[in-house]
């Protein structure tokens, strides 16, 4: 053995010594060995969590709500539901029907032709699971095997207001305290209502619009989703238009923060939910829509957004129940 190879062995030994201070991947919180302790919950995921694919690509998960094939998922991830297939249990169902959507919660109801499915068992008596409660959701998956991903309830249940607050979605210039529209944002409520360039903004729900600050003050009184009556002057004539106030981030896109840059694949829509519970499972944007279970396999809610690299939001079980009932009754 020459000097060089001795040095190599020493280096190797040093490497091994420091490796002994490192926990093998399998034993880490979401490692395979730890996951086996959750096997009974995994069985529930296998039957009651749906995998939604477009082509071969997983785009979302779903939550089985009825034995005859109603499935809830995240609306903004599936779009118009074209070219989808859904796996429940080990069986694939091509071309699910998009029955209806709930824009407030960003939830879509899908239907597959199935019988005897096992719907999730919603836990309705526990409005807010305490922080530290184990939660289990669908993680990596193959056609025949769901894998658990585990975490805990991480924060208070709460409303997540729309990021940025309500906007009309128009740009304007101020001429003698009068606001003249110069541009209408494509995705705004103003565009839908037919506001056009050169319209003069006069009244908002009957209140006089006085300058830029005056308008901001008036709008500040409303919430995203409210409808206002906007009185405008166009070519010398007064007109009243019904305008929906949309969220600033929905109209103009979201401002990317330093935390966002650390967050990776967070959901396109992650604000504007009436109530969520929060946990620390690191979900991808494409692993949203499945059930969140406790150690008993009972359903605490449905994942609705990966908010940041370590915050995931879920719709609480009782809210999920009323959303499902509303959407399913619309279907019948």
């Amino acid at each position: 053995m020459n000097a060089r190879s001795i040095a190599a062995v020493l280096l190797l030994a040093t490497g091994m010594a420091s490796a002994a201070q490192t926990l093998e991947t399998a034993y880490r919180t979401n490692g395979q060995s730890v996951q086996s302790a959750f096997d009974s919950v995994r069985a529930v995921l296998q039957d009651s969590s749906a995998v939604i694919q477009r082509g071969r690509k997983e785009i979302a998960y779903g939550t089985v709500m009825s034995a005859d094939g109603y499935i809830l998922t995240k609306a903004s991830e599936i779009g118009d539901a074209s070219d989808l297939s859904i796996i429940v249990g080990k069986k694939a169902y091509p071309e699910p029907q998009l029955i209806s959507t709930d824009p407030t919660w960003d939830v879509a109801l899908l239907k597959i032709p199935a019988e005897g499915l096992t719907p999730v068992r919603l836990l309705l008596d526990q409005a807010e699971p305490p922080r530290g409660t184990w939660v289990v959701a669908n993680g990596a998956t193959s056609r025949s095997l769901r894998r658990v991903q585990v975490g805990i309830i991480a924060a208070n249940a709460r409303e997540i207001p729309h990021a940025g607050g309500p906007v009309l979605g128009v740009s304007f210039e101020e001429k003698d305290k009068k606001l003249v529209v110069t541009e209408v944002a494509e995705k705004s409520g103003s565009a839908t209502a037919g506001v056009t360039k050169d319209d003069v903004l006069l009244l908002l729900d009957g209140d006089e619009i006085t300058g830029t600050e005056g308008l901001a003050e008036l709008i500040g009184e409303y919430h995203v989703g409210d409808e206002v009556t906007l009185t405008i002057e166009r070519a010398g004539e007064k007109k009243e238009l019904k305008v929906e106030l949309k969220g600033r981030s929905d109209v103009f896109g979201e401002e990317v923060t330093r935390n966002d840059m650390m967050s990776g694949a967070f959901s396109k829509r992650r604000s504007g939910f009436p109530k969520v519970i929060q946990h620390d499972i690191i979900a991808n944007a494409s692993s949203i829509g499945g059930p969140v279970l406790n150690l008993d396999g009972g359903c605490l809610g449905m994942n609705i957004a990966r908010a940041t690299r370590c915050e995931t939001f879920a719709i609480p079980a009782s809210e999920l129940k009323s959303i499902a009932e509303r959407l399913m009754s619309q279907a019948k």
């Binding site: 490692g31 530290g132 370590c310």
Partner: protein
């Protein structure tokens, strides 16, 4: 002097009962299993977290720096805080801390270890504050179950403190790594063992969400006295050493025959203006030293760094008063 031993014992027992977490809590068996094997093991972890969490949450603060925020944790009833050096950024900085219930208090940074990202601070208002115990025995091992708290992204009363679960996945002398995920704003926040004892302070994150670095509490304990004395220890990436001569006051002065210096200019938004110095005030002394010439005053100031405090004795409207202010950065 002799104390009746029973009384002393009684007083000690009282103290133990008052402490927020059980000082003698045993090491949970679950930490010595390679992995939790069944439902019961998982419930044991859950119970430890939910039981010790209320006290841990109460003592965890958001450190509001104005243009950003981090986290910290109170470790004594009179308001000693442990946090990260890259959160306080330096010695003697003033900021506000916010408890989870929304209660605010003024605080000031003390010493820091720039090499390992450890820092100390204290609440400067009188009061009795909720606090947690430190794991002084350094008893955490590789693989132990832990949880992290932090005011991610800034204070949010509706949300409260974020809590995340994980294990210690790497242990080195001056760093421990866990798979509790962290994000901006968590920096400086506490890492707890299952008994709710403080074992580390969040320092930095890796590219992957499972790579999260903490300063172990032994690093704090090792440098406790230096940090108490507000020393800046070590050369490292986590805080900038204050530079002498870069301290900024923001006044122009003229010599005065009777002694002292007469202020003829006060810079806009300067520390002097913020402290209320006005043109026409006479500065008689700085830190107790009588001022005779402009040059002598400038030499005294050159010994000061940004954030250093100076005491100025003023003659204003025929009366003397002393004003203490903090220098800005030139």
């Amino acid at each position: 002097m002799d104390f009746p031993s029973g009384l002393l014992f009684g007083a000690l027992t009282g103290l133990l009962l008052l402490s927020p977490s059980r000082a003698d809590a045993a090491r949970p068996y679950i930490n010595d299993k390679k992995v939790p094997e069944n439902r019961h093991d998982l419930e044991v972890i859950q119970k430890h977290v939910t039981d010790s969490l209320p006290a841990a949450r109460k003592a965890t603060v958001c450190i509001d720096l104005g243009d950003g925020s981090g986290s910290g944790v109170v470790v004594s009833a009179d308001g000693l805080i442990l946090t990260a050096a890259h959160v306080t950024g330096g010695v003697g900085k003033e900021f506000t801390v916010i408890f989870e219930d929304g209660r605010k208090a003024k605080a000031e940074s003390m010493g820091l270890i720039s090499t390992t990202d450890a820092a100390m601070a204290r609440i400067t208002e009188p009061g009795t504050w909720p606090y947690v115990e430190i794991d002084r025995e350094d008893s955490a091992h590789l693989g132990d179950w832990v949880y992290s708290l932090g005011h991610s992204g800034g204070f949010d009363k509706e949300r409260g403190v974020n809590v995340r679960l994980g294990r210690l996945v790497q242990v080195k002398d001056s760093t421990v790594q866990s798979d509790c995920s962290l994000i901006g704003g968590d920096s400086g926040g506490p890492l707890f063992d299952l008994n709710g004892k403080l074992i580390g302070i969040h320092s930095r994150v890796g590219q992957r969400t499972q790579e999260n670095m903490h300063v172990p509490v032994r690093e704090f304990l090792k440098n406790w006295d230096a940090m108490q004395k507000s020393e800046f220890v070590g050369e490292g990436p986590f805080a900038k050493k204050p530079e002498k001569g870069k301290g900024f006051l923001g006044i122009g002065t003229l010599p005065r025959a009777e002694g002292g210096l007469s202020i003829d200019k006060v810079g806009r938004e300067s520390p002097a203006e913020k402290a209320g110095l006005k043109s026409g005030d006479i500065v008689l002394k700085m830190d107790g030293v009588e001022l005779k010439t402009k040059e002598q005053f400038q030499d005294l100031l050159k010994e000061k760094a940004p954030d250093d405090r100076v005491a100025l004795e003023l003659l204003r409207d025929g009366k003397t008063e002393t004003l203490t202010l903090r220098l800005g950065e030139r």
